[in-house]
Symmetry: C2
Subunit: 82 residues, 2 copies
């Protein structure tokens, strides 16, 4: 069994209202050192395949078909034994 | 400037209906090798402080005060120069 840890992030050109709201909330709490906030998704998949390479291929296909919006989002996949 | 990359995940004992729904959607698309799905948040903070240690401290405080729910969620912070 392998675990794929996937981060899905908005592309840099895409506005991130959730990040903006979080930034304002942090400022209101006194976190003046925080200059910018971006919010994405973190997805963990447990995949039953024989190799890490196969797990990475499944995870990338899942991102392309369902988990990420290719117009607005980028994704990264890290595979570990899990 | 440092970048803190934060993953916020539901604690293992907490039900994850979003993960369950995503798992079903993946099964319907033919991803039978996926055994389990958990969904969390990925948050990037750009922090203007003199050292990576200080950036990590700001990011952890932001998680404890706002970004994570300590009853239901765990978080991990990774700091890079950004």
């Amino acid at each position: 069994m392998f675990k794929a840890s996937i981060t899905v992030t908005l592309r840099p050109a895409i506005l991130d209202p959730q990040g903006k709201a979080t930034h304002h909330a942090l400022e209101n709490l006194g976190f003046d050192q925080v200059e910018r906030v971006r919010i994405g998704k973190f997805i963990e998949l447990w995949i039953d395949v024989p190799s890490a390479e196969a797990a990475r291929a499944v995870a990338r296909a899942a991102c392309e078909k369902l988990l990420a919006n290719p117009v607005m989002e980028d994704f990264e996949v890290a595979v570990t034994v899990g």
